[in-house]
Symmetry: C2
């Protein structure tokens, strides 16, 4: 049977919608995979159409990370769930100091979702993966009934390898270390929120969604002894710092004036009563390194397009309470606690 | 801050439900992860609480597979979404002849989902992973609003390594090869369906959900030159054979009388008008190997608890149409086509 016999009519991507049969395992699913996913992600691994991908790997330390993406709305200023799902997982792999190699992508589609929107999302994923030099090598597609999902959820899983001698983990943060941040905070969360609430501004806030592995590679080359890297996504900078403080058994002291923050984000935060410290980022990273190496690391970060606004924002201290405290621009001191109440839901 | 300061009250698992804050990235999410997921899956990788897992791996061919699980209902005779999500991905890795090593698990939870049900599911996953000797090393948790999900969706991604000299892929099926099946068909799909439709029987049908990697290891040891392995899940045996025929550019000839089928499955299929050839399995595999090795492979399969009812069910033939044809028990011949219309939705 030729492909033409198997799928006598091409998918009507302009007008068609996801139907339950697209998840049934039969001919309709095979066609969706072939005409939409394989076309966009095309590579030697997907072309085998086995239920898994195979590749040779050198003896190494391997890193594995996974993230489900449920962001709402699916399209927002500066990105969409497609590129976000590639960047998010690449970044989790990169935060171990690893070079991301391969991604798996699994889709949960809602019956009735427009194929045209799915195509935009899949092409955005494909472009993000190509730009990052990471192949999407295997995947899965499920369909749920109308009202049992929300358009599309995408789970990506990434693997990468770490160079010998690089040992990056939150637990390595220690008193005296410097805390560096790669750029301005709060942009992803505020971009999604402004889209969701239909707020418009003279200078719209764009999501900062980006793959950070090349920035990380430059940083590790400059300072192989980086102790800790983390991308402050859900819960923002405040939550990421509290997590590290807890895992490493240390405290943190920040200088508010040193934390990069753009005026539109500050203004929208004030307008909505949201603290940018707790707002999600998708293209920023925190780095913790020995104080003696901080200037060298900062210079390496500023040399990279994604780290031009990098800054040293504080230091790690001994603190049995594992508190994150911040000297405010007004000269006072403020406890930067864990986020405990409501937060922006479905930001990534 | 001690753990007790961070989470002053323990999660009320008996009466509590998932709330939006459990996905917010803050304190509530940290507590859910610690008291529910880490407790069940406990291992050295999760304990680091980094956003990824790291492990050493020898130079090898690596296999990666991913599956989202959206089965409805979440609990069914013989299993639940938890063990299914472990078995499903382990099996996809095993079908490359690989030894599964590590799993990532990502959860999309619906607001209002009972924590007690989540605990049952997570413990079932943990038990399935322990039994299979595979660690769940990293994960993610998202929460969507009531009515935007359906209780819980679980995406698992697995990696494994393939021994040198083993090259198993659908494309290797060739005319003359024997087709073997490890046991009776249709049990998973019929078990889920009977639960969904509230059908009860004197001998209830149990899902066959099981991890097949040890059966595969025994098979590869007996016959290293197995050409192809596939687990006939969604779309059942018929769809898996059609996929292989298409990928390898061959035809298949089956003997209906040789295909293991238990009486309750046959009877329920007749009652509901469903052909067991198209019904999902979650603990069965198809193997294709040179005819000369078929008896040896069959013996190895029958020696394993999950292959006791294994049978040679047909042979691969040259066929430009890539048809799967079956000689029926009545002596006629029937085309076993791709599933093209409706199928049982959300079976896995």
């Amino acid at each position: 049977m030729s492909r033409r016999d198997l799928f006598p009519r091409r998918l009507d991507i302009a007008h068609g919608c996801i139907e339950m049969t697209h998840g049934g395992g039969g001919r309709a699913m095979a066609q969706l995979i072939e005409e939409l996913f394989l076309t966009a992600f095309d590579n030697e691994w997907l072309r085998t159409q086995d239920d898994c991908a195979q590749f040779a790997i050198p003896a190494s330390r391997l890193v594995m990370a996974t993230d489900s993406h449920v962001v709402s709305p699916l399209f927002f200023p500066g990105g969409d769930i497609g590129c976000l799902s590639v960047h998010g997982t690449i970044n989790d792999v990169a935060m171990a100091g690893a070079r991301p190699l391969y991604l798996a992508a699994s889709f949960i589609l809602e019956e009735g979702f427009p194929l045209a929107d799915l195509k935009r999302i899949v092409e955005s994923m494909a472009q993000a993966a190509r730009q990052a030099g990471v192949a999407i090598v295997t995947g899965d597609t499920k369909v749920v009934e109308r009202g049992k999902g929300d358009g599309v959820f995408i789970t990506t899983t990434g693997i990468g390898i770490v160079a010998a001698g690089v040992t990056i983990s939150a637990s390595r943060a220690q008193p005296g270390d410097a805390i560096l941040l790669s750029g301005a905070i709060g942009e992803h969360g505020m971009a999604v929120l402004s889209q969701r609430e239909n707020l418009s501004f003279d200078t719209p806030i764009q999501s900062d969604t980006a793959a950070l592995h090349e920035l990380v590679a430059a940083m590790v080359t400059a300072v192989p002894d980086i102790h800790c890297l983390r991308d402050p996504t859900r819960g923002g900078l405040a939550t990421a710092l509290n997590e590290i403080a807890q895992q490493a058994g240390v405290g943190m002291r920040l200088q508010e004036a040193a934390i990069p923050l753009r005026e539109p984000v500050r203004a929208l935060g004030e307008f909505l009563g949201l603290d940018p410290l707790y707002i999600a980022n998708e293209g920023k990273l925190l780095a913790i390194c020995p104080a003696a190496a901080a200037d060298k690391l900062l210079a390496a970060m500023r040399d990279h397009p994604l780290g031009q606004e990098a800054a040293i924002i504080g230091q790690v201290v001994a603190d049995d309470h594992h508190f994150v405290e911040m000297k405010t621009v007004f000269g006072g001191s403020r406890l930067v606690d864990w986020l405990s109440g409501e937060q922006l839901p479905r930001i990534c």
